[in-house]
Symmetry: C2
Subunit: 346 residues, 2 copies
């Protein structure tokens, strides 16, 4: 590989002039500029990013740490972060913690150590230990998706309370009163918010929340399946609508209904938070509140790059960016009237 010296030699100028030309073209005379750029072209010069990083004190790398790459939410997030980063001439180092704290610690240890100049992170678990080592990070970082209460940092996420509220309102408007809620991993920020959104909206409409219809468990298809099995075998007490706190849980719920031969939406309405991957091939198309994942990604990247740019000088106050979800009405929710009419017809 050719170095800056090769260019200098060929262009018959000093290496500092070459550097100057490449970084601040305005500060050299036009013909020097030409000589240098031509020479660079000839020897096929590209600056060594490692040497640049060393001298400048920071690299053009940012780290992104997520719980599970295979989850399409994170997948889309990553793609967009990468796009934005590349625009700003940054490269992205992706790491998957598999939701495990030990991995998260190891990965963060690797990433810090002067290699990346900033980190975008969705915390794996909300325990104190996690917060400790995250706040110990002495470099810019931005949290997304899962917010940690006690951490001083920028945060970008969906309005999970609103997402729940939108779907709950939708179901209420359709005439549903016995609405079940299948909640996510207890302790997780999003799970708490989503549950609260459901409860608040029900309360606001003066519909009592039946504790027996409030399920809780980890974010997973299995839990969605199991909870739905429990809910739909309650006989007369069974809900007329189910709100699942995640895409995977909604899928599990749908599966359970299918196996019980309970038609959706005819006999039970089903809605979920966050889009279902492969939504196109799953029928009925599930009514969901879609998280603006691309916007979240863009925002998180922007915030991080800004914080990297400003450095520790002139510390700007931390921002909390909460983006609104979008309601996508599918075929899995239907007015309660229709259910009764249909039910009577059988």
């Amino acid at each position: 590989m050719s170095t800056i010296r090769d260019v200098a030699q060929l262009a018959k100028v000093s290496i500092s002039t070459v550097s100057l030309t490449l970084n601040y073209p305005d500060r050299v005379s036009p013909d020097t500029r030409r000589k240098v750029t031509d020479a660079a072209q000839v020897v096929g010069y590209t600056a060594n990013p490692i040497a640049q990083s060393l001298k400048r004190g920071r690299s053009k790398l940012i780290g992104v740490v997520v719980a599970d790459i295979t989850n399409p939410f994170f997948g889309k997030f990553l793609i967009e972060v990468e796009r934005c980063a590349m625009e700003a001439d940054y490269l992205v180092i992706v790491s998957d913690t598999a939701g495990r704290l030990a991995n998260e610690k190891a990965i963060l240890a690797h990433l810090s150590g002067q290699l990346v100049s900033g980190i975008i992170l969705s915390p794996a678990c909300p325990v104190q230990e996690a917060m400790d080592h995250i706040s110990a990070l002495n470099m810019p970082f931005v949290l997304f998706d899962q917010k940690l209460a006690d951490i001083q940092s920028d945060f970008v996420g969906t309005d999970n309370h609103l997402a729940s509220a939108m779907l709950t309102e939708h179901l209420i408007r359709l005439g549903h009163k016995r609405i079940a809620f299948i909640g996510g991993t207890p302790g997780l920020f999003t799970a708490q918010q989503r549950k609260q959104g459901f409860i608040d909206t029900m309360t606001a409409s003066q519909i009592p929340v039946d504790p027996g219809l409030l399920m809780e468990g980890i974010y997973s298809a299995e839990h969605g399946y199991e909870a739905t099995m429990r809910l739909m075998t309650m006989g007369a007490n069974r809900p007329s609508a189910i709100l699942a706190a995640s895409n995977l849980m909604a899928l599990g719920a749908l599966q359970a209904c299918n196996e019980l031969c309970i038609a959706c939406p005819d006999e039970v309405s089903l809605a979920g938070i966050d889009d279902v991957p492969w939504a196109a091939v799953i029928r009925p198309r599930i009514t969901v509140a879609i998280q603006p994942v691309e916007d979240i990604a863009r925002m998180a990247t922007r915030l991080l790059l800004k914080r990297i740019a400003t450095g520790s000088s002139a510390p700007t106050p931390f921002e909390d960016v909460i983006l609104a979800p979008k309601l996508l009405i599918g075929e899995s929710t239907r007015a309660l009237i229709a259910v009764h009419a249909k039910g009577a017809a059988f």
Copy 2:
């Protein structure tokens, strides 16, 4: 951040001794070793990887380029590569090309430029132009999944021919003769191999391949859906079994059958290559040939690291590692006899 100088100062030795201690502990006396490690501990020293990379001439980074992170095949691949790389103290830079050549070029340009010391790549498209800029990469690289014919490199992939053959044989054993094949993106290596595996196995069993049952199109759920719609509306000529060349296409096919109220597996058997994400929540569980994605990832990483280690000195011959898929019998395939019996009962 503390530097090697701080350690040297505190331990009252020269910086070269510190470096020596940290890199080759055996080459310093035991008490020097203790002094240095203690001092390093005290100031919280970790070597600056950027400076190390600059001096050593290569970084501890490898690049992985895939067509679509959200595809679970690539997702699992990435997770495993990352794990293996971390074990060897390497970090992974992931990039998504969205299957587009322009992106691939841009990404490779960014990655090379002395930043990463090697690249693992699944080529987006098999056109000449792609091969040109890939072979122009003057650094170690390993190809996986999609093989490019004319490129000198290591390659790791599934035995796609075998995957098709296994599933075809399975269907034949179940008594099926009118077996349709929904092929993947024409021109892609895997698509070609999978199609050939089907044809060869049919031929070996002396079952004629009906060209009307040989569909072709891009790897996508939509194409699987559309092809199945065409196939299953052929009336008496319709196939009794369908083999889809990818997971997404199998899902699309299943959806089409559902919409046509053609029961799977009662009226048509369905099999696919590559595991279906969320397989657990999709019924019937589809019979598939699973690619050993973790093995592929491990192998690709191993090959790359080996090639990085050997450098351009002592060039070892390129390896082609072809791993066998695993057949997972689901509930979507059934003996043809049963189909007839059931059909008569209606």
